[in-house]
């Protein structure tokens, strides 16, 4: 994957700050890459939720990846295009679900490396939030496993006994880096569908891509 931030004279570095808690809002993290302020970081990560519970360190790591993924996406597609995708409720699923996939992929990779280093079976089989495969129609419409579904080999509909609340995910084999290169030109789900078909891995059918993306289009 590409590095998340290209420094320049006007924006010399990406600042990521950690705080125990945001006193105004019940959030875990925020990313405002266009904010140039001497004191406030571009990315803020919070250790506690609104009810006062401490997040676990894997969650803090994942949240950091999530927010930095937004910054990287913003820089890749450009500020104007990102704003349009972000502000449109029909396309906001793209940046949020992409960040969900990046947090999942990078956190898993980190724990798998640690598992190899320390010989821990638990860490080797670590799967952050089970790849959000519990998500079903009716949950939040932006933070979905859309991009995870393009990578993993799980089919939630089969895992849930054919329930139509879950996507029939027959697509697998994409990588985060391929998806990132696809996202460069993607502004909506129709375009995503077309780009996925052009760059599909061996064994993936166009109809399966249509079915999966149409599911998320109609939530």
């Amino acid at each position: 994957m590409s590095t998340p931030y290209t420094p320049s004279v006007l924006k010399p570095k990406l600042k990521v700050g950690y705080y125990h808690h945001d006193h105004w809002r019940d959030i875990n993290g925020s990313a405002i890459p266009f904010r140039e302020n001497l004191t406030i970081p571009h990315v803020c990560i919070y250790g506690k939720d609104g009810s006062g519970y401490w997040s676990t360190t894997d969650f803090i790591y994942a949240t950091t990846c999530h927010e930095v993924a937004h910054v990287s996406h913003w820089e890749m597609v450009g500020e104007g295009a990102f704003a349009l995708i972000w502000l449109n409720p029909k396309t906001r699923i793209i940046p949020e679900s992409w960040a969900v996939a990046v947090e999942w992929g990078l956190t898993n990779t980190e724990y798998h490396i640690l598992g190899q280093k320390y010989g821990s079976y638990k860490a080797l089989s670590y799967n952050f939030k089970e790849g959000k495969q519990f998500w079903y129609r009716g949950n939040d419409e932006f933070y979905t496993p859309l991009f995870i579904d393009l990578i993993d080999d799980q089919n939630q509909r089969i895992n849930n006994n054919g329930s139509i609340l879950f996507p029939n995910d027959k697509v697998k084999g994409y990588s985060l880096s391929i998806l990132e290169s696809i996202l460069f030109g993607v502004r909506d789900l129709e375009l995503l569908k077309a780009m996925l078909k052009i760059n599909k891995p061996f064994g993936v059918a166009n109809e399966d891509i249509d079915e999966l993306i149409n599911f998320y289009k109609n939530i």
Partner: protein, 146 residues
């Protein structure tokens, strides 16, 4: 006030609202998931991961008892039995420490079946009821007549 001034102020307001909304604030969403034992039996919910019992996910309920699990995630609260470090092999319901029902074999009795949860599609408290039918199923699969 002149209409042009109203339009001007409206445009400024929209600009300010858009500026603040165009910032990724990822919200932590928690949910309450209730397990309710409506039977006259003690129920142990034994969750197995990688062949051994998970103390993190397993729990017990006395007769007419209930238990709340709070789960949180960015965007929406995951159901219970979601763990990054555990791949569930099976969820066993053990009645009165003796009678076992492996819910893996009976999806309609598996608490992972989201459609068996009351209010599963709403933001309000979600409930899973262990009822007499669970107990009767356990009797049946263990060879006892109904």
């Amino acid at each position: 006030m002149k209409p042009i001034k109203i339009i001007y102020k409206l445009l400024i307001s929209i600009g300010v609202i858009m500026f603040f909304s165009y910032a990724s604030c990822d919200k932590w969403v928690c949910g309450d998931w209730w397990f309710i034992n409506l039977t006259e039996h003690k129920i142990s919910v034994d969750v197995y991961c990688f062949g051994s019992i998970s103390t993190e996910l397993s729990f017990s309920l006395m007769p007419n008892d209930s238990l709340k699990q709070i789960t949180c995630d960015i965007g929406s609260s995951p159901p219970p039995f979601v763990s990054s470090t555990c791949r569930i092999d099976s969820i066993l319901l053990v009645f009165d420490d003796t009678l076992v029902l492996n819910t893996l074999n009976y999806w309609e009795f598996n608490p992972e079946n989201i459609e068996k949860w009351e209010n599963y599609n709403r933001k309000s408290n979600k409930k899973y009821n262990f009822t007499e039918s669970h107990y009767q199923k356990a009797l049946e699969v263990n060879g006892y007549s109904r």
